[in-house]
Amino acid sequence: MAQTDVLSEINGSIWKILVKEGDSISEDETLVVVESMKMEIPVLAPVSGMVGKILVAEGQPVAEGEAIAYINH
């Protein structure tokens, strides 16, 4: 089984986490919403699989390239 990191593509703060660890998700499904530049920007699943671990909490700042979660697939 492979593991793929889900990275934030932008600086901002975690506004909403829409999945839980263990959830099955499909490629391009929204996992987390980052607030940046007064917009709600979705972080999409890069691959289909299962949410392995969520590494952030709502309200927490996040940097571009930072891992938000990883997916087992």
């Binding site: 593509e9 932008i10 600086n11 940046s36 530049m37 007064k38 917009m39 709600e40 920007i41 979705p42 571009e64």
Partner: protein, 511 residues
Amino acid sequence: MTFEKMLEELERMKTKALGMGGPEKVARRKAENNLNARERLDLLLDAGSFVESGMFATSHRPEMRDRTPGDAKLAGFGNIEGRSVAVVANDFTVLGASSSVVNGKKIRHMREVASKSGMPLIFLGESAGARMPDRMGAEGRAILAQDPYEYRRLRESPWVSALLGACYGSSTWYACLSDFVVMRRGAIMAVASGRVTSMAIRQEIDSEELGGWKMHSEVSGLVDAVVDTDEEALAMVRKWLCYLPSHQNEAPPVHPVPAGSEGRGGRILDLMPENTSKVYDVRKIVETIVDLGSMMELKPRFGRSICTALARIDGGSVGIVASNPLFKGGAIDVDACNKVIAFLVLCDSFNIPLVFLVDQPGFLVGVDGERRAAPGHIMNWMNALALVTVPKLSVIMRKSYGQAYLNMGGGRNSDEVICWPTADLGFMAPQVGANVLFGVKEEEDPEKYHKLVDELSRDTSGWRLASLYEAQDVIDPRDTRDVLTQLLRVHRKRMGSGVGKHLLANWPTTF
């Protein structure tokens, strides 16, 4: 029969050439489920249209002549949808399709004919690199790849590359000079193979990481489209060429407008959220504006905050440059800059009018961007845009903030600027501006903060831009297709039969 022996000799020579690298190698390829070069040509070209050039070419070295049928790179002419093309198909069964003195002459001939006669040139890539001993020593330097013509690109006609296997040497170099590159998953494109690179840098290298589809479609941006099979790659080449003229001195072909293309504008009001903090996928909006089913996105995994796509409106080709807020909120990063510049070069070189659809919060600022020379890329874009001579239409859908307003065709950088009533022409988001420009935070001084936000929001509407005649109209978003159709007709370059000046024809498209 007269001439019997001569005709038998011709048949024998043909059979030898058509056998490529020999039955064993051809069978091994088949067993590996890989198409050979001749099968690829059959799929690429209209049935029965291939006229081969150089079937009887071989290595110039006497000891290699017998085992180099076609000298490893098949070449010739054929038709795609009835239009002439020139093609070079690498035959990996002959010495790994390595570059040699004689097959270099074949490529040069295809280039010259494609340029002089005005037809696209297609490379079907799969090659090991320079052939030894042709390339060895001072003699190798003197006879192979020493000609500056080899890598000179003036875009007299479109070039296309399909990466269909291990691509080193010429397949890589010509892909990087091409206007469209499609890659099959499993193919590799790199300066040198993983094995050679591993030895050179004394480090284990994974070929996929070095030059696989994911790297090239997401990181380097050297690949425009990724597919799973050779068949899909060749179909993609045919499809891309349908948007292009045969050469720079004609307008692109006009196609019939598919039934159902009209009357879809109402969907725009469902696709675009009224709340400006919500994002959406602009590609769905583009699909409702262009002729039904005509959108072909390029580099969809690279620089994603801007979508670049070929499409048709009213049957004619257009190049779409659309902010995509779904990614990075539509903020423009270095990858997006480079993607747009390459697209401007393509459209300007081949007479394809440009349509900008704008919803961007500005350039993505940050240390990473500056280290990657963001200001230089932003100015390359502006310089390219100012040199474009095809019609340019800009539709400001929502935000168009900061300097990037100009990059997306604002001011006189387009022939016509059209606003939707939702257009917002601020310098930056007013809430951010109150904080950044005046250092006032809502939680610390709400009264002053809201006053500043109000001031920064004043006169940022499309109405104000229209009253100053910097926007030529404010339209109902549902009418966008109709308005663009009319304006494309207005700006058709009648004096030159739809042909521009091609001031970008010799620009590089990779940076």
